[in-house]
Subunit: 334 residues, 4 copies
Amino acid sequence: MRFFSDNAAPVSDAVLAAMAAANAADAAYDGDALSCRLDDAFSDLFETRVAALWVATGTAANSLALGALCPPWRGVVCHRDAHINNDEAGAPEFFTHGAKLMPADGAGAKLMPEAIAAVIDLIADDVHRVQPAAISITNATEYGLVYTPDEVAAIGALARARGLGLHMDGARFANAVASVGCAPADVTWRAGVDVLSFGFVKNGGMSAEALVFFRPELAAEVAIRRKRAGHLLSKGRYLAAQIHALLADDLWLAHGRAANDAAARIARGAGAARLVHPVQANEIFVRLSEAEAAALRAQGFGFHDWAPGEARFVTSWNQAEGEVDALAAALAAL
Amino acid sequence: MRFFSDNAAPVSDAVLAAMAAANAADAAYDGDALSCRLDDAFSDLFETRVAALWVATGTAANSLALGALCPPWRGVVCHRDAHINNDEAGAPEFFTHGAKLMPADGAGAKLMPEAIAAVIDLIADDVHRVQPAAISITNATEYGLVYTPDEVAAIGALARARGLGLHMDGARFANAVASVGCAPADVTWRAGVDVLSFGFVKNGGMSAEALVFFRPELAAEVAIRRKRAGHLLSKGRYLAAQIHALLADDLWLAHGRAANDAAARIARGAGAARLVHPVQANEIFVRLSEAEAAALRAQGFGFHDWAPGEARFVTSWNQAEGEVDALAAALAAL
Amino acid sequence: MRFFSDNAAPVSDAVLAAMAAANAADAAYDGDALSCRLDDAFSDLFETRVAALWVATGTAANSLALGALCPPWRGVVCHRDAHINNDEAGAPEFFTHGAKLMPADGAGAKLMPEAIAAVIDLIADDVHRVQPAAISITNATEYGLVYTPDEVAAIGALARARGLGLHMDGARFANAVASVGCAPADVTWRAGVDVLSFGFVKNGGMSAEALVFFRPELAAEVAIRRKRAGHLLSKGRYLAAQIHALLADDLWLAHGRAANDAAARIARGAGAARLVHPVQANEIFVRLSEAEAAALRAQGFGFHDWAPGEARFVTSWNQAEGEVDALAAALAAL
Amino acid sequence: MRFFSDNAAPVSDAVLAAMAAANAADAAYDGDALSCRLDDAFSDLFETRVAALWVATGTAANSLALGALCPPWRGVVCHRDAHINNDEAGAPEFFTHGAKLMPADGAGAKLMPEAIAAVIDLIADDVHRVQPAAISITNATEYGLVYTPDEVAAIGALARARGLGLHMDGARFANAVASVGCAPADVTWRAGVDVLSFGFVKNGGMSAEALVFFRPELAAEVAIRRKRAGHLLSKGRYLAAQIHALLADDLWLAHGRAANDAAARIARGAGAARLVHPVQANEIFVRLSEAEAAALRAQGFGFHDWAPGEARFVTSWNQAEGEVDALAAALAAL
């Protein structure tokens, strides 16, 4: 029973079918019909004109976005525990040619305007200090918290006031939107987000993430930099097909909702006292003694030892109900 | 009738089936069973112990390889018309952090030791000049020529004598090996190649190329740099599956042979006088007047206007026999 | 009365005289007689065979050193308040092509092995995390503390145990050595330092710092990278001349001692209660109310408002005795 | 008798005196009075409002200029034999983060619009090809040719028509202006030059070159990148002093004229038949057999063996008349 990572889950049948359906010769790179329809598909979803690019990984999406918002000699404010700071092997530094990540603090890996301002206010405005150029937030956060539209808007207002770009790492955007129940637009461009990394791989996709530019004029340069980074696949139609399959009939949202529901049931089983963070999306961080962790593993549950006395469980879009119930019960029984 | 590019061809059923078969949850990234078996699979094929990494594009494979062989402050000798010099948007410069490509000349985009030495010999050995660190050759070349094992070995000897690494861009390695009829080992490590970009996407794959390290100690650093470049896919098993499917029963070679045979038939149809380069793999460069090109297009043939009076036709692994015969006949009839 | 920065002080007459004496035509770049004698001069000083390179700024010295010790995809542990982290505009990231600075804590900007280990121990050993490659310490620190040979040796032992390089930013190396009273070798290579940025500009020089390699085999690559960074001056003999003038008869040490002595007198005037940090070199951090700061400025003292309620005074190699006494008295009188 | 390089010549007394006169404490970095007056001084010289920055080397000046005109993913058209392409160890690639130099041909290392257009016209406008962003010309060229204002203007017009920036490497700008006899403005901004590297080191300076921005809005970013590259000297006033000394009373121009006159006399001595290139500035390329070269060396002349059968002589701002006459006579006597 796999609660280790949503990265390890299968691909949805709809996605596989769409990929198979794309298996006729077409134009190479992103000149095919499916790729060319991405701008429209995302513009519909976000209720405004956007430009969109597919890439194969969230790391590439994030790093290309940051490269578009931050020159080599400036910095990006992000949470200390953000994926871009901790789990991408320095990809943001690589793609930006050495920009500096500027870590800020906040409970549950969630950034608030005060924490961001505290980082920026310390930076004297002279050539000796690296100046910030952008803010990056993760929604849902590394610890499964989500931002309301108002919370993002407050950060967006700060970004505008300071002349900074705003990026959202939405590796689990589906879980975040499903959790808050808002329109995708509300938590992105209406709240000041310039570029969104819209994740599909953790949510039933295979190898396609989207970069969504709410300032569409940014996309042309990123398209060049995507090629320069080796991220322009020659058979791009199979990536576009994945995205279209998940956007159709809001399948992405249904998947996100399913994973969230599973997590909520597990959280209820665990009981509030065990939870390290509120469970708002599809991650459950639980206080576990070593013996308890061993007992759960003995029952067949796979999960991540996050820190001493703390374990992470992640539910996937297709998590079997029986597994969810079993884990909830096992946690309740501890 | 598509002779525009082997990049636009479909994916083979065997590959699609292998991907579907990989659709059970497994470890993320490259910790899955299929990815872990790649070293063995390529070691068997190359009759020596190698290390292998999958990536999604040939550009990424080439650039990661060059990064492993060349520090930022040195250079890579390659043909002036090489893909790495002309068609990868500066990816080699990006991945190497600014190494210099050092173009050499040669008929049919094929490098000979004399041409390489001519470039190197001009470079004074002081700190003012960028010093070479590696040689990169393309097999089959941009113009469809192939290297014999002896030809590669001569370059390998030069590389060793000058202390340079040797990379082979094998985007069409299958066509090259099928053409020469040698063992894959003969034209690679036995001839002094350090790293091979082994292409599958043009040859029936979807989104998987392999980096094969004949000096396996190079792979660990490249694995880090692959992640740093956003090229470590979280569901890597679907890439490994593609490669295993094409390696099984030498399907890769059968595909390469099929494309080559189609090209040979078209070349015979065109007649030697029309051929700009000898046809040794799956590309046919043909002298065509504007009127002739228009006439062929009117008959439904799609191809690339390479240069004034010159067109490029590329055959794919699954090129329909009828299309091939039709093109051969049409060219003969001009 | 200038206590703002040792960067603003004049150049010593000995240095100016040596530069004038170098004003005959000689070989360009670093092929001149003075440049060629640097290795010997520093080898004598450090009682071991070293290689040395001149550069024009401490930022260049530090960044070239870090580039030699850390590849683009790894990191450098340093104090959060280190010059390389805060005051060099991202030069370390530029020269290393995007390596990550990994800030550690410690009173007075001084690193202790425990603090370094605490940073490293959090870094999981996988491709997702940037791995450390080096440690950089500053001696004297940003707040004027100095390291004893034993303290450096403890860090050196940690570095060796973890396979990390060790760099010392010695922008105020003279003040540090003068303060501790040890041999230069004791606090550098004998304690495990691999590369030293040996500062002369703050200490009576004009535009010459030295990079001293205790692993001389590192110097050849850095010589290339120095040129590539535009730091190989064509009339290098004027830089070498500065260094030789300051090394001669240990003038560098006399200068450092003079500045330290001035600082000690000012510290005594201020009284221990006012001192934010122990005064061990040539910087005095003093608690000052706004009114007190204004009063001192009204008396003609120039200094830096470091933080609310805190001011920094820096003494220079040639600080006039009268100015020192006046400041000591003024602080005592507050 | 040194005709090896103008890089090896002494520093003029006026420069040394100005440096000594700057030896009072002042603000650090470029906040001092001399540095602050540079914009005005160059604005006067160029008869328009410019922004200027000092740096210590021509390589740094060129590379910072190119970084301002060209993003990492584009390219700079320059002559194949340009200093930036051949003699700066890849510094342009370093400072631009991997932009591509795009070599064009032309007699005497001089670029003409046709040659530039020929390079650009071959570059298909798609994401696979590196697109040009700037043109860089060298005046005087590597082979001592100079551009007339009309010639630069033709390149400037091409640059504007193609949307490219235009940089002039003026390491020997003094020799070029002295040779043509135009106003400095005529051959720079009036002809479309955006940024000039204005060399002083080869012309009586010690360690100061100027970056002159005819689009002053470019300077702020370059000031940041100068610091980031370790090129902001903390005692910058000594660099500014050098520049002011050479600008005063057009000393720079007198020096350039002197070197040119010496070269002209040597060229006359050599006779037109021996000259590889017309002698328009301070370099003389002469056809010499090995025996002749040896004979000249035996007479005490130092020079550079440029290529088989070809030697380079460079005159300096202070070349002694006797040396010049001796060389002219010796060449005439061959």
